[in-house]
Subunit: 463 residues, 2 copies
């Protein structure tokens, strides 16, 4: 190794400690970010806006009157935050309704006793009809066990998928990804072998009594069969009963159905750029939530944080060079139509989307950003790392973004996702426990601080 | 700079990326830490032990019957965790009692109306006597304002310290440190000028209706005057009234008193070292809590995490080279006698304490360790950094430890403190809201994972 090579390598490594883009710039940026942070931590309105979304609006599934109300409320919030332009992007959304409160039980045939199940229909699932369905239960731990049983073991029965979230994954999203396929693909894979219905163990990281809903996706090669999630405590109980060879049947009744598509909107609020207004930077979350929950962490948090970015820019007097857009996407949970519409309009208007940041992993204390973009752009952002150190963000990892901004990848937009701490998320995700009370004001606002800081840097230096 | 210097510097910097103590060792250690983590995240009992401390035992102020019960319960837990020796260290503790439920109000003299205050006596404070005290209220924002008012402005009045925790400090302990002096030193400083009593704005990071207690420290040069904390909402209300020149008086009644010292114990459970049994590694938290709270985050969490370290070692078959001791310290909150006794006995027995780790900042998701030791030792620990990256710990900072292990510094012990995320801590610290329900099982257990990993490394490599 020559001294020249050594020097170069030393510089590269040192770059991780001290950003290479100049100490002067870094000091200025550091002061600006401190101003942003002080403003948000002292005067932030994200928490009170979230209270409105959770308590005044409430659950806001796509197509519901509450979803419409959330459009109106967030449009108002964006105006109050200081966006110079607020408008709606019309889009049609799937309109699934849960119908009557679900009922279900397990009956032990030995003594006829009934154990009431805490259950809910999976999102987008078909109903059982008013009589419900009743049948023998076959428990499978995974798809391998299902395949082995085949038609002989499944036909005419109710399949019970009991695949717990793996507690050893420290990043809980890994466990969600692994277990999630039983909810999304399980019903159709059981229908392939003649199952009459499916019960899925709730995708939850804790053992409690709340069923967690979420979308299932039918494969149209097979009959659409009804599907419910049961609480993790019920899954544990049922599994013990089945393994102890109890003779039992299950019954459940759901009247959920998919209605014709309904009109809805994305809500957009922007501050027009002073120098490069044609370059658009998007920051967003999704406005719709499941009908069982207030949708506080999922994803009211991401919405109010995005509005807070706009508010913090205005309140601190930062005039962005590029156009900053806060977007409340509609229909992330059961269709993704808002995200698709956003791309469609971007293409139609030939907009130049240089960067998009989504917050859809909860309003928990922030730890990092996931970056889905070229290595060059990722390195540019990672070089700003030190500027985030005082605000709890240290992790800049490859891959990320979010469902709603994902479509923008088709037009080359650099994507990023906020990475909050994930330990508590799946205790409450898609369940009645996802309430305003489960959100910490300081954690929520600290997430907004880091989002605003990243948006500021991308705006200031381009990407 | 010579090439030799350059090489040295490069190595130092590179050491932050790739530990210098050998890739092979790192791979082995990485596998061991993964085993520890999997064991704790899958089978950890810290959360259920905490439930016992909070719900079966409850608030456990030094000298109370519940404190004694907590001694018995944690001794049992340590045995069940697999400690080969469990014993008690007797120590006398201050025995302060709150007495009857406090009462207090503000009366507006214009119409005689009374506003009931949510208040509590400060720990170790004297009572008002059964008649209570009544007087004009003088609000001060800080000690400067107090000094300016002097005896003329203070004599015969009730001083109201209204110094909010600074929301812009991201590390909330900084704000606690800053505001904390009004609780600890405020009463005596007001007594110096003839105040008859003190009301302190609760040391809380949120605005709510719960008074937060905590120790006050009298300076015996001045009369001991009664002192209470009022809720942050009440502090805001009262401040508005005072600033709008309302003519008002305050009344409060406390019957708290300091009884003679009472006998109590530290609880110790150890696994004797196989090679260097004389070298002692301590991991601990404090068993006592304030009487108003279940003491879940402060500091039941630290106790059950320390017990979990013992359990994880036994369950994964790690036989420590050195002696590992989990210690439940008594009386951190209002006297520190347990920590002092631990040092006293260590000296008496000429024990060799190489390292002590305390968890007393809540069972929130972990972020790092604070290290109070020589630079050489700190660098040795920091070189293990990569081993913690998968478990959420990335910060190894200078300074730390904890109140209970602090005395060990006198005999040269290297001290460390777990640094959990601090955003939620002061919403509930020393208040009735510090309950079991406010603890996340995964966050608590992940803290224990990192504590066990650090103890494992220090045990394995020495310090």
């Amino acid at each position: 190794m020559t001294i020249q090579q050594l020097k170069y390598q030393f510089k590269l490594v040192a770059g991780l400690l001290l950003s290479p883009f100049g100490l002067f710039a870094q000091n200025n940026d550091s002061a600006t970010i401190k101003r942003i942070s002080d403003e948000i931590m002292s005067n932030g309105t994200a928490y009170e806006n979230l209270r409105v979304l959770c308590k005044k609006v409430g659950p806001r599934l796509s197509g519901s009157p509450q979803a419409q109300k959330s459009v109106e409320e967030t449009a108002r919030m964006l105006l109050e935050a200081g966006a110079d332009t607020v408008y709606l992007q019309p889009c049609m959304v799937p309109h699934w309704v849960r119908g009557e409160k679900e009922k279900g039980y397990v009956q032990l045939l030995a003594d006829g006793s009934k154990y009431v199940l805490k259950l809910c229909a999976l999102g987008n699932s078909v109903g059982t009809g008013t009589k419900g369905i009743r049948g023998e239960v076959v428990e499978v731990r995974n798809f391998n066990e299902l395949e082995k049983l085949g038609r002989e073991g499944i036909q005419g029965k109710i399949v019970f998928y009991n695949f717990p979230m793996n507690p050893t994954y420290i990043r809980t999203f890994m466990a969600y990804g692994e277990s999630g396929s039983y909810r999304t693909r399980g019903p159709s894979r059981a229908a392939k072998y003649g199952a009459i219905g499916v019960m899925v163990r709730s995708l939850a990281s804790n053992n409690d009594d709340f069923p967690h809903t979420g979308t299932t996706v039918y494969n149209d090669s097979f009959p659409r069969i009804p599907a419910v999630a049961i609480s993790t405590n019920d899954a544990e109980w049922l599994s013990v009963k089945i393994r102890s060879k109890s003779n039992l049947v299950a019954y459940f009744r759901t009247t959920s159905e998919m209605l014709p598509d309904a009109p809805s909107f994305n809500v957009v609020g922007e501050i027009r750029g002073t120098v490069f207004p044609q370059e658009i930077i998007t920051v967003g979350g999704h406005l719709d939530s499941w009908d069982l929950a207030e949708g506080a962490q999922d994803d009211g948090a991401g919405c109010v944080q995005s509005i807070e970015v706009i508010r913090a820019f205005k309140a601190t007097g930062i005039k962005p060079l590029r156009t900053i857009r806060a977007v409340m996407f509609m229909n992330e949970e059961n269709g993704g139509r808002g995200g698709a519409k956003y791309l469609e309009l971007a293409k139609e208007k030939k907009e130049q989307h240089i960067f998009a940041l989504e917050s859809d992993a909860g309003g928990f204390t922030p730890r990092g950003f996931g970056l889905d973009m070229s290595a060059e752009k990722r390195n540019k952002i990672a070089a700003w790392k030190d500027l985030f150190a005082n605000y709890g963000v240290y992790q800049f990892s490859e891959g990320g973004g979010g469902s709603d901004i994902g479509p923008l990848k088709a037009i080359g937009t650099a994507l990023a996702g906020l990475i909050p701490d994930s330990q508590r998320y799946f205790d409450l995700h898609h369940a009645a426990t996802d309430t305003f009370e489960a959100v910490s004001k300081r954690e929520l606002h600290l997430g907004a601080v880091n989002m605003a800081a990243l948006i500021y840097l991308v705006d200031h230096y381009g990407l």
